[in-house]
Assembly symmetry: C2
Homo-oligomer: 337 residues x 2
């Protein structure tokens, strides 16, 4: 396998990206191609004292910034690390593309340059969402690639998420749930009601509607919702969690007695906070395009980069894209019959 | 003022409802009419040793259960406490209706029996949402009366919520925010983009788009969103909060050292958990119908009932319904000009 790594994307590029690549190379046999401003990347490789030949560099000096609109960035910056990397993936010069760059540009780029899998109406961005009780990762689809969805899109999200979890994470028969107002199939909008029927008639392990209250408790492995709701779920979970941790900290600092108590439980609380650390899970897949693309968080550190590379490889190795393509063909056949 | 209280609604009716009424009567001068199965209510009044004449009882023996569909319950159970209470409010036999009954039935009943305020397309259910950092209550509209909204509905939610907070809670110039994918006005669905423009052009104190991450931090006083997103925000906040509290508790129970620490900080943590207690805020208003209606949580205890009555009275006393009616007339004039 040959991993194509966007050397310039994210807040900590290229230093943390390169460090992550070097750390990954110590654990895997696969090649890593870092794409970006060659001089800067080579400088970081020297800083890491990297001397092997498992990591190579491809020069792509143009930069996509947060100020570029996604479509313009992809159309005009042909020699940016992102456009170059996606084109290399398309041309078979690599098997997986991993990037911490501008999310909008990555989704647009994947759609425009790789193209949608035949039958997929809307590619999706997935996101890791931990079951907070067991810390087992679940997959939320769509995390914000599209703000609005049709019922067919929600079915596709369930299908693609299910295949990804099964093949990449090795979780058998993953439970697919639809975020909705209530558990009854009559609940929700016209779109969610229709999606319920489509999911129920599919060959997925559909566990039905899931209320938002149950989402943090691991009610399902694949959390299906439109991109607007997905964005609300991810950001609200972050907002509520951080606020409560802050309040717990303040409660401990309130008086001498509670401060003494805090010293005793500090270890446990730190461990708990680390469990919430999304870094460990690495990246999240862009699903529904003709090639395996992993998106890392913009603020990814070396550890996150390393994990995204290592955990992303099965996305390519297990032929997830081909399996989704086949499933869509089968769906087509069923619909035509 | 004459408060009409649904004696039969909620999980703890009529015992906790009656106890709450008796507690409220000790603190206010207003009359309270408890509507429901008279014998059961009188029995509870005797149990409370209530002997005054501030509380009266109106017999309405039919019961609306969780199994009744809202429309059928309202149409067919004319002598239920809910239908009777709403009709009394409509006929001027009371000034405020407070109920812990079936939410769907209450909204449908308010709409069918009281009617919508002229110009309001969709009545809304509001919900108290605490700013978790300061514990100051904010108001989320819509909390689930409609699953889908048009831009005009979102404008109405902002308008009604703003008037309610200003008149009932006495908060001047409340900040109205629109839940959206990002702060830029170009973000979101066609509906939220359109709603942004309408809110920005209104005379409300519109603070713009609010990301879900900022909602628990009191980013605005009136949190505007469609009922689907409102439901997700409320239930996910509950799910994440309870899960984290459970994890903190487990972390404390992990070993002897942390257990000792836990004893020291127990007081502070309990205080923190109580701050999250929605009971204190009492009820939440149904907005946009021709009469002040307050909805209490289905599991309301006597304290919640007492607070809903006391805090609901300004909804009637401050003529909120009339002010909304007037604002809608003014909007009409502006649109026609």
């Amino acid at each position: 396998m040959r991993v194509l790594l966007d050397g310039m994307g994210g807040d900590n590029a290229p230093a943390e990206i390169v460090r992550g690549a070097v750390q990954a190379a110590e654990q895997i046999e696969d090649e890593i191609v870092i794409i970006g401003k060659e001089s800067a990347i080579r400088k970081e490789l020297r800083r890491c004292k990297y001397k092997g030949d498992q990591i190579t560099v491809v020069d792509a000096p143009e930069e996509i910034t947060m100020h570029d609109t996604p479509v313009r960035a992809i159309r005009e910056k042909k020699n940016s690390s992102m456009v170059r990397g996606l084109n290399m993936l398309k041309d078979g010069e690599g098997d997986l593309f991993v990037s911490a760059g501008n999310t909008g540009a990555l989704i647009v780029g994947a759609r425009l340059l790789l193209g949608r899998i035949r039958g997929i109406d809307r590619p999706a961005l997935a996101s890791i969402y931990p079951d907070m009780e067991t810390m087992k990762p679940c997959l939320l689809v769509d995390a914000g690639a599209s703000a609005e969805s049709k019922a067919q899109n929600l079915l596709e999200y369930g299908l693609m998420g299910s295949i990804f979890i099964e093949k990449v994470w090795g979780r058998e028969n993953p439970r697919v749930g639809l975020v909705n107002l209530g558990v009854e199939e009559s609940k929700g909008t016209s779109v969610t009601k229709d999606a319920y029927q489509k999911l129920a008639q599919s060959n997925l392990n559909f566990v039905g509607n899931v209320e938002a209250r149950e989402v943090p408790k691991g009610a399902c492995d694949v959390i299906v919702c439109d991109g607007f709701v997905g964005n609300v779920i991810l950001k609200l979970t972050e907002g509520v969690s951080l606020t409560i941790f802050k309040l717990v900290k303040n409660a401990i600092m309130e008086n001498l007695k509670s401060k003494i108590g805090g010293v005793f439980i500090k270890g446990q609380l730190m461990k708990l906070k680390n469990d919430f650390d999304y870094e460990e899970y690495g990246g999240a897949p862009v699903l529904g395009v003709n090639g395996p693309v992993m998106k890392m968080h913009g603020s990814s550190t070396a550890t996150a980069v390393k994990n995204a590379i290592i955990r992303g490889i099965p996305y390519a190795k297990e032929n997830v894209v081909e399996i989704i393509r086949q499933e869509m063909l089968d769906l087509d056949v069923i619909e035509e019959e």
